[in-house]
């Protein structure tokens, strides 16, 4: 006997003790697929025969089974299951997970079973037990179907059990092997002319209209119809003939819509109300011969609720489908595919309010669906509704997959009036607005331990406590998440210089890259300001469309932790307008065919953002140090030279005096160092922006370009507004050439000698990997004087600097790599049109990693 079971099912074995269930299970299923009640008894009580542990054992078994079914894994229950009340929980469990319960009965006579038990030490219970079980089993046979088992197999006697084979059949909706490409077409509703026009626009050759249509798809492509072919429109019969022939010839796949479902009921003679355009269908079918109606009924009956295509990357269903129902088979799944789900409430037009499953959608597969007419097809969390209401005077839309390109044909006229105002001039219906503009994030998208997979650096783990810390920063201080598409990574300094008066030096950075096999690096001047990420749109319309902005802004300027740079929104708007002017003048919109741009930059002076820090920490320390040292020096001088008789102590005093004078010099230089970061700013006057990465534009993350390209392209931009924008000075260093290295070092010496902050050394390419993985994307070499405001005014005193050299860089560098990978991952996801939560996950991750404890001086 050959048993065929659905590939995703809950198999319940039924048989007396000693009937050979475990042997059968071992033979036909993977060990991990079989859950045995004996084994579970052992897990909870250390004794597989301990009947008092039965309740706990079944709790454990049920729990594991539920986890497996939720994950879409076939599961076998190995227990006697001879009574209906024992089987009932499994039928319910299968239903809950939208998979099919299968019963396999091993009907073995008690005599044989008892003989087998005789040989086993742990089965020494009375004969009556097995006889009782067998009576129950026999009594059950008739009722198994009624109990809800979709497949029932009864194996009669040991020979049949022995001879049985088990085969697994895929569900009808499983077409994961079909990889497309596809052209997915929204609700047609009898708009035959528009359908033909759309097919032709998509490159399909349509002939033989209207009676015997034949459609030749472009090579390799296939159409997919999302249902609701019928009702309301003028060409219902034509559409049916066209689609049926396409499905028959393999040129198309088709899933049913609720309108087909209702038509089928009518054709099957059920009493159905002739509303929502069914009357048109019946009237148009009237002249057709009865065979055609029968064919239509058969066609509809053959349609499968939904399809899972392209290795699980694409799901098509008429009304959409949440992740947990995809690829499953149950009445509920079919129901959802046809009708969606409603909240039980009705709106002001008396129509049911739909449950907004797409807002919560977090599945891996792209879901393309129709059912609810929308004015414009828009992505929402990897789902898209492409019913653009053709029959109501909208248009007929197709989505090309995997290109994600929308192709549309406008309706020739309004064929049917919608109950809910559709396409009203100006205002959209609020419900529709809500649905398509949904970008509300879920706490589950960010909280807890998270693993984010990145294309650059594999899986990046974000620890739970870091996520908790980031949640507060993100919620209280950060710019709205829809604008946060990128946060910059932290940057490690060079390896520490081992001797002399310096801690950092370009030579160390050059050595690092040279050892990793990099031939050419770029040295960029490190500006004396604050890191700023700028997202700028051409206009408010782009901001709304691309960044789902809810107000009139055209962009944002945020700090490295995602906080708005400007507390004054008018000033921010003026700044962005001015920058947009420069981008326009530089012709970057056209050059990159984009309406928005994302820049990584430094905004100067530092005093704009760090006013409080400068005053309360830097200036305060400076003034206290000066007051204290000058008082001490004058008292020491008085002591050393004054009228104090015998000067036994002169030598000791002049020693201390010398030290204090040296300290006074260092403090003076420290004060000079922080003062360089302060200059007056009045509104935009005095503000300077130095962009150094042109991170992304529409459809592109510009990491495939070299840093030289970024410098040069941005220099063009800077030339368009030299008052506001500063091109970053840079030098290119050939690491294989000593003279070139020396020139780079000389430049650093010159910059930092004049009090400059230092340089950043980057490999010429954005992303460089060595055998051991990703290289540091950038290494900073900070100036000797600048480091006073990091390590303290007197850090370079010989007695101090030796101790400061002992600094570990590995944590910092690990973070730099993970944040770099996360930052770019977010940006890539954004330009690829991924849903907000997928972008936010990365940005949130960068912020979370920033709460890792690491030496803040690095």
């Amino acid at each position: 006997m050959n048993i065929e079971i659905p590939e995703l099912s809950l198999v319940v074995l039924i048989g007396t003790s000693g009937s050979g269930k475990s042997t059968f299970a071992r033979k036909h299923f993977k060990p991990t697929e079989v859950l045995s009640s004996d084994y579970c008894r052992g897990i909870v009580s250390d004794d597989e025969t301990d009947q008092s542990a039965t309740a706990d054992a079944f709790d454990v078994l049920g729990y594991i089974a539920a986890k497996r079914l939720a994950a879409g894994r076939l599961t076998v229950v190995d227990a006697t299951n001879v009574q209906p009340e024992a089987r009932k929980p499994f039928v319910l469990l299968a239903r809950e997970h939208h998979c099919l319960p299968v019963a396999i009965v091993l009907d073995i006579s008690p005599k044989i079973a008892l003989a087998r038990n005789q040989d086993r030490a742990d089965r020494r219970f009375g004969e009556h037990v097995v006889h009782g079980q067998h009576r129950d089993l026999r009594r059950s046979l008739k009722s198994l179907r009624r109990e809800g088992f979709s497949h029932v197999f009864v194996l009669d006697g040991p020979e049949q059990v022995e001879a049985t084979t088990v085969a697994r059949t895929p569900l009808w909706n499983n077409k994961t092997h079909e990889t497309g490409p596809f052209d997915i077409i929204g609700d047609v509703h009898g708009c035959c002319d528009e359908l033909c026009a759309l097919l032709e626009k998509l490159g399909y050759q349509v002939s033989g209209l209207p009676e015997a249509p034949r459609v030749q798809p472009p090579v390799g492509r296939r159409a997919v119809f999302l249902g609701d072919l019928v009702d309301r429109g003028p060409g219902i019969v034509g559409v049916l003939k066209l689609v049926m022939s396409m499905v028959e010839s393999g040129a198309a796949l088709c899933v049913p819509g609720n309108h087909e479902q209702k038509l089928l009921r009518k054709l099957n003679g059920k009493d159905v109300r002739l509303t929502h355009g069914l009357a048109q269908t019946l009237a148009q079918l009237e002249p057709e011969p009865p065979e055609f109606k029968t064919k239509v009924a058969q066609f509809i009956d053959s349609l499968v609720s939904h399809y899972v295509l392209d290795d699980g990357k694409l799901v098509v269903a008429h009304a959409g489908l949440p992740a947990k129902l995809q690829g499953r088979g149950s009445g509920k799944v079919r129901e959802f595919c046809l009708f969606g789900e409603t909240t039980g409430e009705t709106d002001e037009f008396g129509l049911p309010v739909r449950y907004n499953w797409a807002a919560e959608y977090r599945g891996r597969a792209m879901v393309v669906y129709g059912h609810t007419p929308v004015p414009e097809a828009e992505w929402q969390n990897r789902t898209i509704c492409i019913d653009t209401g053709c029959v109501f005077g909208g248009s007929l839309t197709a989505l090309r997959y995997p290109e994600r390109e929308l192709v549309q044909v406008k309706a020739k006229q309004t064929y049917y009036e919608s109950a809910r105002p559709f396409l009203t001039e100006g205002a959209r219906a609020p419900v529709i607005e809500e649905r398509v503009r949904d970008d509300l994030l879920d706490a589950k998208d960010v909280l807890g331990k998270r693993i984010v997979s990145t294309r650059l650096h594999g899986n990046v783990t974000v620890r739970e406590e870091n996520a908790n810390a980031a949640l507060e920063v993100m919620s209280r201080f950060a710019a709205p998440p829809n604008w946060l598409v990128y946060l910059p990574p932290t940057m490690s300094p060079s390896e520490t210089v081992t001797e002399g008066p310096l801690l950092e030096h370009p030579r160390e950075a050059f050595t690092y890259y040279q050892r990793q096999g990099v031939a050419e690096v770029i040295c960029e001047e490190k500006h004396m300001g604050s890191r700023a990420v700028v997202v700028l749109c051409r206009d408010t319309e782009t901001a709304r469309r691309r960044f789902h902005s809810a107000d009139d802004r055209i962009g944002v300027v945020v700090t490295r932790t995602g906080r708005p740079f400007f507390s004054d929104s008018k000033l921010e708007a003026a700044f962005l307008q001015r920058l947009a002017g420069a981008v326009t003048a530089a012709g970057l919109w056209e050059r990159f065919a984009t309406d928005w741009i994302c820049l990584d930059a430094e905004l100067m002076p530092w005093s704009v953002k760090a006013q409080e820090l400068l005053r309360e920490q830097y200036a305060a320390t400076g003034t206290a140090a000066r007051a204290s040292l000058s008082a001490a020096i004058s008292v020491l001088e008085q002591a050393a030279h004054g009228d104090r008789g015998a000067s036994v102590a002169t030598e000791a005093l002049s020693g201390i005096l010398g030290t204090l004078r040296a300290r006074e010099v260092r403090v003076g230089r420290y004060i000079e160092a922080y003062r360089r970061y302060c200059w007056p700013v009045h509104e935009l006057t005095g503000l300077r922006l130095a962009p150094f990465h042109l991170l992304a534009t529409e459809r592109r993350v510009h990491t495939e370009q070299t840093h030289r390209w970024h410098m040069e392209t941005l220099a063009e931009l800077c030339r368009c507004d030299p008052e506001l924008l500063v091109a970053t000075p840079f030098r290119i260093v050939n690491l294989t050439d000593v003279a070139s290295q020396e020139a780079g070092i000389a430049w650093w010496t010159e910059l930092t000698g004049a009090g400059g902050e230092g340089i950043v050394v980057k490999p010429m390419q954005w992303v460089v990997k060595s055998k051991r993985g990703l290289l540091q994307p950038a290494i900073k070499c900070r100036g000797h004087e600048y480091l006073r405001i990091i390590y303290g005014a007197e850090y370079d005193a010989p007695e101090h600097i030796e101790r400061l050299r002992a600094r570990g860089l590995s944590t910092k560098r690990g973070l730099a790599l993970r944040e770099f990978a996360l930052g770019l991952e977010g940006l890539h996801r954004f330009v690829e049109g991924e849903p907000l939560y997928r972008v936010h996950e990365c940005v949130f991750g960068v912020l979370a990693l920033e709460s890792e404890p690491v030496d803040p001086r690095l």
Partner: protein
């Protein structure tokens, strides 16, 4: 950091005997946090000046630190090496120990005789300004001269620094001057570089038993010296005052009531909580969620309502939740009580299934802390997804701000407020939200109603 002590007592060079440091020498003393040097700048018969120069090791200071969230940059670049602080007090005790205790081998009598003395500190951070500096020293008969330095003369708009060059002079025993300095320096600086425990009370009593009980700033001195630790403060005051039973908490309570009378602030808070609790009661709720519970003020009231079987406090700040946990004494509650209440971290701009299924949600003085751009998300999180039967929202009425005497015109009541609404603005927002999500809303004023500007707080009760 430099401290000098000058006397004009004759012969002034006896100062050397009092300090037990030879005027002709320059001596150095190793300390756990650096070095102290003692030398004399003037050694004449009519005047003698001794100097204590403290040389802190800034790098050693940070290296020793462990635990906590790890140091921030402030730990590396700061004023500690340059100002008078608890480091100086420790140095005084170690270097001038016998003088501090009023002992002198050679001049025992002089050590207990008041003589003209002057102490100078090169830089002292005065939390509380020159006024407090004077209030601390002048009651004991000192003359005080203080010069404040500017933060940076290049940027005069930054204003004055918190540092003063200080001179105090008076006729006192040297040990008195030293112990006055010993206690007052860390009090003015308002910090301690070491862990403050029980032995700190002993130090305070030893140095202050003579002058502290009658000092007008006694409570402030005790509080700051003991780093505001209530238990230590109570202990110190009890022992200082003997039978005059003083409970700092009681004292605090009294002051709070005074403040209340002036600002009516506390009573407003109480009225607000009262109004919210009655709105919860009116909704005949069994379960309630406090969105933005902070440190648990409302939760404390809600727990008292026995009708409530399920109380959840949500805040975005893990630190606030820790405080709420402590303030509500959750660890001490009996199991049955403990099961009623739960604290969770969550954000009002992220949809959260844990917010669903409550009869009432309270959002008390929270929305004004949200950026206006995040309000739409908040509205949907609460009214569309959490969807309790009743939502209670309170927020300030900014029209009333003109009635707060201490609040400069145009300023918000709290630094973190992102907006404050007029009655009309709140009404407008509430009606729009109610309409959009299918709620009815009723606006209730909280606090004294002023005919012109309304009540200080406004409450919206949304029901569906």
């Amino acid at each position: 950091m430099l401290l000098t002590i000058t006397t004009t007592h004759r012969p002034a060079t006896d100062l050397g005997y009092l300090l037990e440091k030879h005027p002709a020498k320059c001596q150095s003393f190793p300390l756990s946090f650096g070095q102290a040097h003692v030398f004399y700048s003037v050694t004449r018969e009519e005047s003698c000046t001794a100097a204590l120069l403290l040389d802190l090791d800034p790098i050693g200071l940070v290296r020793g630190r462990r635990g906590g969230d790890g140091p921030t940059l402030g730990a590396y670049v700061n004023d500690r090496p340059y100002v008078a602080s608890s480091f100086l007090s420790v140095a005084i005790a170690q270097v001038f120990g016998s003088a501090l205790n009023g002992r002198s081998r050679e001049r025992a009598e002089l050590a207990t005789t008041p003589i003209p003395l002057k102490a100078s500190l090169s830089a002292l951070r005065c939390r509380g300004g020159e006024g407090l500096l004077r209030r601390l020293f002048e009651p004991l008969g000192y003359e005080v001269a203080a010069t404040r330095s500017s933060l940076d003369e290049r940027f005069t708009e930054w204003g004055p620094s918190p540092y003063f060059a200080v001179e105090v002079s008076g006729v006192r025993c040297l040990s008195e001057l030293l112990s006055h300095l010993y206690v007052r320096i860390p009090v003015l600086d308002d910090d301690k570089h070491y862990f403050v425990g029980d032995d700190e009370v002993e130090k305070l009593l030893a140095k202050g038993e003579k002058w502290l009980p009658g000092h007008p700033q006694r409570d402030l001195i005790v509080s700051r010296f003991l780093k505001k630790q209530r238990r230590l403060m109570r202990d110190a005051l009890e022992r200082l005052m003997g039978d005059d039973d003083v409970d700092p908490e009681e004292k605090d309570e009294e002051r709070r009531r005074e403040e209340e009378a002036v600002e009516q602030k506390i009573s407003l808070n109480e009225q607000r909580l009262g109004a919210v609790v009655s709105a919860v009661k009116a909704a005949t709720a069994r379960s309630v969620i406090d969105l933005g519970c902070g440190e648990g003020n409302l939760l404390r009231e809600l727990i008292r309502d026995k009708e409530l079987t399920h109380i959840v406090g949500v805040d975005v700040s893990p630190r606030s939740l820790e405080w709420a946990h402590r303030n509500l004494h959750l660890d001490d509650l009996p199991d049955r009580q403990r099961e009623r209440i739960k604290l969770i971290q969550g954000s009002l701009s992220y949809r959260d299934e844990r917010f669903s299924g409550f009869d009432v949600a309270c959002v008390v003085e929270v929305i004004e802390h949200l950026d206006p751009a995040r309000l739409p998300a908040f509205e949907r999180v609460v009214f569309e997804f959490a969807r309790p039967r009743t939502v209670v929202v309170t927020t300030p009425n900014c029209e009333y701000n003109v009635r707060f005497e201490n609040l400069p015109a145009g300023r918000f009541r709290h630094r973190d407020h992102r907006f404050e609404w007029t009655r009309e603005e709140f009404q407008g927002w509430a009606s729009r939200v109610a309409g959009r999500f299918g709620y009815a809303v009723r606006i209730v004023p909280i606090g004294p109603e002023d005919p012109a500007v309304g009540s200080p707080t406004q409450m919206g009760v949304f029901t569906r």
